[in-house]
């Protein structure tokens, strides 16, 4: 029987990283100032995982990709208009908070329940993908807890590359501290891979893929289960001091750019 995978990608929404973010405390607890107005994107870490999942599925016919997301339904609908054009997947939507202040364990429990309820999901083919970090949840533990709930013993974090060997075993390139990497091999699924950046570029918008995905995205959004999670508090927060000097230079080499940045870092701050 040819090798194939059932790849489940966990990914939530975060404010578009291009926006200026500021923590504030509202009636519902901590959040981001003007969060409602900000455009949202699929968490960039999870996006890498999704693109890698689609790439892997394309190499092994018969494979399938699900995207499981706990996010506010209206925002998720909006983000799907773009994400659904990127790669083929089936959406499993949970309607709830995507805040960085939600309790990671509750989020993970909701996600693992949703994954266990996916019809036809074959555990012997299961690869659980996600970001090893999150642009809104810096602790990066949610995916690990989802894996524990699902009983996945082979867990890899900071993954940059996955190779499937001829015998079906998985060869995983992981990041270690100090800029080093290690290669691990496991027998095969089920396994959890928390992706770093991977190596794939963001796919182009493809309306053809979008229309195919929309056949499942819209029904998934309409039946998205309301999911309550606890918003945790924080005791203090400090943002790094910012220095900004903008110049537009188009025709420098990478070395020139690097030299200029080093010189700028060593220069005294200028008054605006």
């Amino acid at each position: 029987m040819p090798l194939s995978f059932h790849i489940v990608v966990c990914g939530s929404l975060v404010p578009d990283p291009l926006q200026t973010l500021e923590v504030s405390v509202g009636p519902a607890g901590p959040g981001l100032k003007n969060e409602l107005m900000m455009p949202a994107v699929l968490d960039p870490w999870a996006s890498h995982a999704l693109y890698e999942a689609a790439h892997l599925a394309a190499q092994f016919p018969g494979s399938k990709v699900w995207l499981v997301s706990l996010s506010p339904k209206a925002k998720l609908q909006q983000v799907m208009m773009t994400v659904a054009q990127k790669v083929p997947f089936e959406l499993i939507a949970l309607d709830g908070s995507a805040s960085g202040f939600t309790d990671a364990t509750e989020t993970a429990l909701a996600l693992s329940e949703a994954i266990q309820s996916i019809p036809g999901l074959d555990r012997s083919k299961l690869l659980l993908f996600g970001g090893w970090e999150s642009a809104s949840r810096g602790a990066g533990v949610t995916l690990q807890i989802v894996g524990e709930q699902l009983g996945l013993l082979d867990q890899f974090q900071g993954v940059d590359e996955l190779t499937v060997d001829a015998d079906g075993s998985l060869r995983v390139l992981e990041r270690l501290e100090g800029g080093q990497q290690q290669v691990s091999v496991c027998e095969g699924p089920p396994a959890l891979l928390g992706w770093a950046t991977g190596s794939l570029p963001e796919p182009r918008n493809n309306p053809q893929i979008g229309m195919a995905n929309m056949r499942t995205v819209m029904p998934a959004l309409q039946r998205a289960k309301p999911t309550a999670t606890t918003i945790t508090d924080f005791s203090s927060i400090t943002l790094p001091e910012q220095r900004r000097t903008t110049r537009i230079v188009k025709d420098w080499s990478a070395d020139q750019v690097a030299e200029d940045i080093v010189a700028w870092l060593g220069s005294p701050p200028q008054n605006p």
Partner: protein, 618 residues
């Protein structure tokens, strides 16, 4: 459906069959899709109108939007919102971010506190009189709040909106009824014989000239019985239809403006209640109109309109806006504020006279690009939304009757409704209202008052279009020819526009950046506009006849470019940098060479393109 849409990407051009395809998602398309979507399904969820292209399914409605997300690249507005309220009778502004009921309206004449403004003698005399008798005129902060404004100008019971947030709110109401695809530019309409049969999406994986490179993916053809064109005043598809099918007799689109704005978080303690509306005129140049709309939570949209009647060949919106913000009347609100968002867009100010053919075989046009903007009342959103509503009503009538979307049927079902609507009545009143501005500010203001008070029967007559003056002519008496030539040489050799150096020389004080609200143009792009340009698309700004640019000494395209995306080039042909372009379309109507035969407005073609602003707060 004629293609397997689950198939992987291919380098062959695919075709998809839909029923209705919309170009652009703005207020007009929002009105169209909202009205249409309410008629698509029965209460039990079965199709009320069955899809001819996919029998058994509801009508297949696709909408393609160029910008990276819905609500990007638009602007804040104050609107009476009559049509929006008719569509949403129970609308609650508190459920729409940045929305507020209009609370107060002021029209303010700004004196020139610097002395650098080019004011005609009548305005200089007026200013002197006001300064001699400040109590009589109730002048404060170098400004006079007019005690009375004509009723046509009022937005009573209206709404202050961020159109970006409003568009997103509208899109969220359309769940499951229409497919909205942002980040997908439409390259052109598909035309067969005398009919539009759909659209072609833009090719991806090309070089700047549109030639295929690695990863080439031809844009899909989306064929539909009806193509709804709502791509705004500078939209590539609308302009293509003008070229292909012609324009009505008397059609004119010579009056334009660029609106440049910021969304600002006002400093604590500023007493501007949500819904406060301030319009200004008189400064920094008499032709410049300004606006400040207060949103909830101490946020304001503010900026200036730079019209085509402003004859400075080095006209710029960014520095003009900064000079305007620093006027004492406004700076008392803004000092200590912080930029949240920034942007600009072109406004078609010819209104009813810029109306193209509204419908033809297989297509209909709605929104600002269909000439719906009212140039007397300064209103466009209300009218645009209404055009969409009227088209949707006509489309439903035709589909229920099983009639095709021929020109004759669309004329009857849509165009006739427009002719019978308040858009037409009010548009005709406004048609000549701005003509006086071609003679100057005072005749312009008089013309608006005349047209408004006589229901359009009287107006100050227009002047035949004149080419812009040269820099030497415009700055005569302010900057001598030798200095202009020096500035030209220095700036062009540095690859920058002339306007900052010219304004410095003409007496405008340098703007001291505070890094929060006053900042360089490029910082506004990066901090406020977050301008993006995905690779793999052709350039959308093209200098058609390079030899015309090489000889041109009045490169208005460089000066007024909202993103500094057009800069001087070594051969005389300007350079275009797509990574800075915000798709405002200003270059389209700011070529000094209207004689260039290859384009109706000048030597610049403004084609379909991808990317642009990345903020939904505008």
């Amino acid at each position: 459906m004629s293609s397997d849409s689950s198939a992987p990407p291919t380098d062959e051009r695919l075709t998809f069959e839909a029923d209705i395809v919309c170009v652009g998602f703005g207020p007009a398309t929002g009105g169209f899709l909202t009205t249409l979507s309410r008629q698509l399904l029965n209460p039990d969820g079965t199709p009320a109108i069955e899809s001819p292209s996919a029998p058994g399914l509801p009508l297949q409605v696709m909408c393609y939007e160029r910008s990276d997300d819905l609500g990007f690249g638009v602007s804040g507005a104050v609107t009476r919102g009559r049509s929006i309220r008719a569509t949403f009778p129970d609308i609650d502004p508190t459920t729409i971010p940045l929305a507020a009921e209009v609370a107060s309206e002021k029209l303010v004449y700004l004196l020139d506190p610097i002395g650098a403004s080019r004011r005609p003698a009548t305005l200089r005399a007026t200013d002197k009189l006001i300064r001699w008798l400040p109590k009589m005129f109730r002048a404060e902060h170098q400004a006079v709040e007019l005690p009375w404004t004509p009723s046509f100008f009022h937005k009573t019971d209206g709404l202050v909106l961020s159109i970006g947030q409003f568009n997103q709110w509208v899109a969220s109401q359309l769940l499951g009824t229409a497919q909205l695809w942002p980040g997908v530019p439409v390259a052109e309409a598909l035309i067969e014989g005398d009919a539009v049969v759909g659209v072609r999406l833009m090719d991806q994986g090309t070089d700047k000239e549109g030639k295929p490179e690695s990863g080439f993916m031809p844009g899909m053809d989306v064929r539909a019985a009806l193509t709804v064109v709502g791509d705004g005043p500078v939209g590539a598809v609308g302009r293509q239809l003008d070229r292909e099918f012609g324009v009505p007799e008397g059609h004119s689109e010579h009056d334009w403006a660029v609106g440049m704005k910021m969304v600002v978080e006002l400093p604590e303690g500023v007493d501007l209640p949500p819904g406060a509306v301030i319009h200004t005129f008189g400064y920094p140049e008499p032709e410049i109109f300004g606006f400040l709309y207060a949103h909830p939570d101490r946020i304001a949209s503010l900026g200036v309109f730079v019209p085509s009647s402003f004859r400075d060949p080095a006209r710029t919106a960014y520095r003009t806006m900064q000079n305007w913000m620093l006027h004492p009347y406004l700076w008392r609100y803004l000092k200590g504020g912080r930029l949240r968002s920034w942007g600009a867009k072109s406004l078609q100010e010819s209104g009813r006279r810029g109306e193209p053919l509204l419908a033809g075989n297989g297509y209909a046009r709605i929104g600002e690009g269909s000439g719906s903007t009212n140039v007397l009342t300064g209103s466009g959103v209300d009218e645009a939304w209404m055009t969409g509503v009227l088209l949707a009503e006509g489309v439903v009538e035709l589909m229920q009757a099983g009639e095709p979307f021929t020109q004759e049927n669309l004329d009857r079902a849509y165009v006739r409704k427009r002719r019978e609507s308040w858009i037409e009545t009010e548009g005709r009143v406004a048609a000549r209202a701005r003509d006086g501005f071609q003679r100057g500010v005072i005749p312009g203001l008089l013309g608006m008052a005349l047209a408004g008070s006589t229901r359009g029967r009287l107006a100050v007559p227009a002047k035949p279009n004149q080419p812009l003056p040269t820099l030497e002519e415009y700055y005569q008496g302010k900057i001598n020819q030798a200095d202009i030539e020096r500035i030209r040489e220095e700036c062009y050799s540095s690859g920058i526009a002339l306007h900052d150096a010219l304004m410095d020389q003409a007496g405008w004080p340098a703007v001291r950046y505070d890094g929060q609200l006053l900042m360089s143009h490029q910082d506004a792009l990066l901090l406020g506009g977050k301008v993006q340009a995905a690779p793999g698309y052709a350039d959308h700004v093209v200098f058609v006849a390079p030899e015309v640019c090489e000889k041109c000494a009045t490169k208005v395209c460089i000066e007024l470019c909202s993103g500094q995306a057009i800069t001087p080039g070594p051969t005389g042909v300007p350079l275009f940098d797509r990574e800075k372009c915000i798709h405002c379309g200003v270059c389209l109507w700011n070529c000094a060479h209207t004689e260039a035969a290859s384009h109706e407005l000048g030597n610049i073609a403004f084609k379909a393109g991808a990317g642009g602003l990345h903020s939904a707060e505008n």
